[in-house]
Structure formats: structure tokens, C-alpha cells
Symmetry: C2
Amino acid sequence: MQGKSGSLGRSERRREKAFGVALQAIRREHGLSQEQLGFDAGFHRTYVSFLERGLKSPSLSTIMDLAETLGIQASELVRRTECILAQEQT
Amino acid sequence: MQGKSGSLGRSERRREKAFGVALQAIRREHGLSQEQLGFDAGFHRTYVSFLERGLKSPSLSTIMDLAETLGIQASELVRRTECILAQEQT
């Protein structure tokens, strides 16, 4: 069962792109490669790459796994995403 | 392509249950029924019910849609989820 039908909407893509930008920025702040982040969080490197390019929609659990590996709260990762979305609208 | 293979892990279920508890609490604080929240956020009522029971994994975009409808930040909804997870561990 899906909550919403159809393909990814425009706002969904925008959110995923913003999440990707936030994830990449925090990963680089921590001096980690995509490989290292992926390995430590239990994901394939290509999945991290897809997320950073906004091509995949992260689940709550994925967000928490990534945040844990980066040593931050998941809510902080989402807050950074919100900041990027807010900047876009100004 | 999946980031992780296999069925939902134990920690994933725990996170979804915590998210469901947080979502239900905030929905009730706002005096909304599952039907109203679902309708306003663009989801079916049964999907809201599944989320509140921790039976579905919300995506980032779903979390943002729900938060927007509830008039809070998505990061706040995730923060409430983290509080519930932290309480469990004490």
C-alpha cells in the first residue's frame, strides 16, 4: 500500500535534493568519503551517492542510520534540510 | 536499488513505532482525527493509521507533508521521535 499514488512530485524532488545537499555538506564537514559513510552506516556507496544527488527518497530509518554514523541527531539532519529549503524560497 | 537488503530490522521497527507514537501524540494535541490529518496531508486514513502503529516506514517527504499539515517543522516531529526512543532506553 502506498500513501500517495503516482510518481515523485515536484516538491518531493525538491526535498530530496535539499536533503542530498545537507547530507553531503555534513559528510564533508566530518571529513568522510561516500565510501566511508556508506560502509559505516551499512549502505552501499552508490546509495549514498544517489541520496546526495536527490535521486532517492530516504526513509526515517535511513536518515537515523546516516545521522548516527555522522554523530549528529536525525532531527539536526532534517533541520539542515529545512534550512536549505527555506534559503531556496528567499 | 535498495540501500539495505532484507526485511525490516529490529531497530527499524523500533524507530517506526516511536515515530507512530510521536505522530499520534502531536495529531491529538492538534485535535485532529486520522481522517482529517490524512485528508489535509493528501494521504488515506488507513495510511495514517499504519504509520501511527509503526507498520509503515515514512519517507522524508511523508514526514514533511505530515509536519506541514500539523503546523510544525519536520525536524520537530523527528525530535519528538528521538525523545521517545531515548525514553525507551532509560
